[in-house]
């Protein structure tokens, strides 16, 4: 394989991983606070359609990303209100949010079918990325750099800041955190809002980074893979990075087999199914390695019932 091709593959891989990474980072923070939001896929779709619409209308990618983040966050507030304020079942509410996001994006996206937009490409001057190796450093969309910065930022926030400590405490033992005097509900609202914003941005990656065409359900289950990835990473940001790039590799294989038309001995549908099969395999592998106790936050998915 030539260097050119290898670098092209790596850049594709990084691009394919980025939305999963961003969404998973958001969900990681949400889950660390003790909330399981299965609505990632739905929030991503909402972010995707909003980013598409804003880009189409204004051509301003930054504005598109901002609006996607706001939309994702706003939709996550439906989930937060139902589960945190009204203590509804988190699994059911998350599913409802995904169904809602799917419907919402299909409703508002249909107007954009067949109307392409501009991809959000590198912000660095093209001269910097002339040599193939430099392209690896300077040849990415700002969304890629954002995702990498967020890996460090999320790690720093959870491990090194007091607010991060409080958030982890709320996820470990909500009743204790409450009895010490921290607001469990407020902390979780904030975490869910952050997760929603990240899912929205992750959604914006699809039209801005991957395919500048509108298609229904263009996130194709990536939100669910992001959820699996959080488990795979044992709730650690840097392992999330590694996991996301692993999935990026799997998806890149699919893209290249499709593009080259040579699918090996296996049908192209096998390669299309591979990311999902890989997700299951990964889930099996981590559960095999983990002996006994899980790394999951102790309160994950459980409603907060302060008045015992």
């Amino acid at each position: 394989m030539s260097t050119e091709l290898l670098i092209a593959v790596i850049i594709t891989l990084i691009g394919a991983s980025t939305p999963i990474l961003i969404a998973a980072l958001g969900e990681l923070v949400v889950e660390k606070s003790g909330v399981l939001n299965l609505g990632v896929e739905g929030m991503m779709l909402i972010g995707a359609v909003v980013a598409f619409a804003v880009t189409f209308a204004t051509g301003n990618h930054w504005l598109a990303i901002l609006c996607a983040a706001i939309a994702g966050s706003a939709s996550s507030m439906i989930f937060a209100f139902l589960t945190l304020t009204l203590s509804a079942n988190q699994v059911a509410t998350g599913l409802a949010l995904t169904i809602f996001g799917t419907g919402f994006s299909a409703l508002f996206g249909q107007a954009y079918t067949g109307k392409p937009i501009e991809l959000f490409r590198s912000v660095f001057p093209a001269e910097l990325a002339t040599h193939p190796v430099w392209r690896l450093v300077f040849g990415h969309s700002p969304l890629v750099y954002f995702s990498l910065i967020m890996v460090v930022a999320v790690w720093f926030f959870l491990k090194k800041t007091r607010t991060g400590l409080i958030l982890r405490a709320v996820g470990e033992n909500d009743l204790s955190a409450h009895s010490i005097g921290y607001s469990v509900v407020l902390t979780r609202y904030a975490a869910v809002a952050f997760g929603g914003a990240m899912a929205g941005i992750a959604g914006s990656c699809f039209p801005l980074l991957l395919t500048p065409q509108w298609a229904e359900r263009l996130t194709a289950g990536r939100g669910w893979i992001a959820l699996a990835l959080v488990v795979f990473a044992a709730w650690r940001p840097f392992r999330l990075l590694a996991g996301a790039y692993l999935f990026g590799l799997v998806m890149t294989i699919e893209l290249y087999t499709k593009a080259s038309g040579s699918t090996g001995f296996l049908p192209s549908e096998f390669w299309a199914a591979l990311p999902y099969i890989a997700t299951i395999v990964v889930l099996v592998l981590i559960s095999l390695r983990r002996s006994g106790q899980s790394a999951a936050p102790a309160c994950l998915g459980k409603p907060f019932m302060p008045a015992q």
Partner: protein, 359 residues
């Protein structure tokens, strides 16, 4: 005005069954407003989606046919959800049911006899069940979350379907269309009301729901499922195996989704096509909740959801409402239902006397 919540000593039975009705009404109301605001004919949308299918007798057969698979799948899911087993991959199990039935139909295409259809149905049930084996195995052996595995398998099932209808199962006489040949008369579900499309799947759905209701409310199996879901430690103490229950719950829901799949394949579709996955597996999740995870409630919830589906199709042609709007109505219904759950457990009191909940 201030309000406060007071925990009811016992969950309210009345609220349990009234809130789904309230959720549907609230959805209609809010839906009308929201769709008006975004520039559609909101009232028209609500009328077409919720009333036209009921008022137009021509649509009744559609309701019956659309609600049957929803009811069958939702009954299976409700058993799982009662046991705290979150199978959300019913769509995949539905597809596998359809594929298994189709496989048998293709093998028996040169044969005839009344045994073929029951064989297909049995195959469909086994197919759906088989697709639930992996999530069950992984959950019970390795504590792998069944939500993710069952959902991932749905995507795999759809790719499998695509592969089969484009590749080995493609109808050689089909002008290159990615679809199988038509089923023979012996492979199709008979219609039970002449000159309608109401097929055998409709009474099967009712039988499934009633039988499941009886099992869940009267039998030790139903008791076991409910204990495992409500308190796994208590189930173990009571002598019930949690793992066995998870297996039973997942296999049952897989089997019923497979049944729905094969009934659709041998009924309305009459062949296997790429458009076979019609979201029944996902919509049935809403149906299960709307029916309060009670098989009898699910009959009504399935009907209500079928109204929305049929009405959505009507609204597409009459008032140009996009197909996706139905999804929004459906998710709103679930949102309202989940929000109203609070009323089952709490009483809302108005006034400003602040009395805290008992600690």
């Amino acid at each position: 005005m201030q309000f406060r919540l007071e925990k009811r000593p016992e969950p309210s039975k009345a609220m349990l069954y009234l809130t789904p009705v309230g959720a549907v009404l609230a959805t209609a109301l809010v839906g009308a407003i929201v769709f008006s605001l975004i520039g559609y004919n909101g009232l028209g949308a609500v009328r077409e989606i919720f009333l036209t299918p009921l008022l137009n007798p021509l649509k009744w057969q559609d309701l019956a046919v659309k609600s049957a698979p929803l009811i069958i799948i939702a009954v299976g899911l409700s058993i799982g959800y009662r046991a705290n087993v979150w199978n959300i991959g019913a769509e995949g199990q539905y597809v596998l049911g359809g594929l298994a039935g189709t496989g048998i139909a293709l093998l028996t295409r040169d044969m005839s006899g009344p045994w073929i259809l029951p064989l297909m149905i049995g195959g469909g049930v086994l197919g759906g069940m088989a697709w639930a084996v992996l999530p069950a195995l992984l959950r019970t052996r390795l504590q792998v979350n069944e939500i993710l595995t069952s959902l991932m398998l749905t995507y795999v099932a759809i790719q499998l379907l695509n592969y089969l209808v484009i590749g080995p199962w493609k109808d050689p006489m089909g002008f290159g269309f990615p679809q199988t040949r038509m089923f023979t008369a012996d492979q199709m579900l008979p219609t039970i009301i002449p000159r309608t499309i109401v097929h055998l799947g409709v009474p099967i759905a009712l039988v499934v729901a009633v039988a499941a209701w009886f099992m869940m409310s009267r039998s030790v199996f139903g008791y076991q499922v409910k204990v495992v879901g409500a308190a796994p430690d208590a189930a173990r103490y009571g002598g019930f195996s949690v793992n066995r229950t998870i297996w039973l719950a997942l296999l049952t829901s897989g089997a019923l989704a497979g049944l729905a799949g094969v009934l659709e394949a041998a009924g309305p579709f009459g062949r296997m096509v790429p458009s076979f996955p019609t979201n029944y597996g996902f919509t049935a999740i809403i149906v299960a909740f709307l029916g309060r995870l009670n098989p009898l409630g699910i009959i009504f919830a399935g009907l209500a959801m079928a109204i929305a589906v049929v009405g959505g199709e009507v609204a597409q042609t009459t008032i140009k409402l996009p197909a996706a709007a139905v999804g929004i109505f459906q998710s709103m219904m679930l949102f309202f239902l989940l929000a109203s759950d609070l009323l089952v457990r709490y009483r809302v009191r108005f006034g400003d006397r602040t009395v805290e909940a008992r600690a």
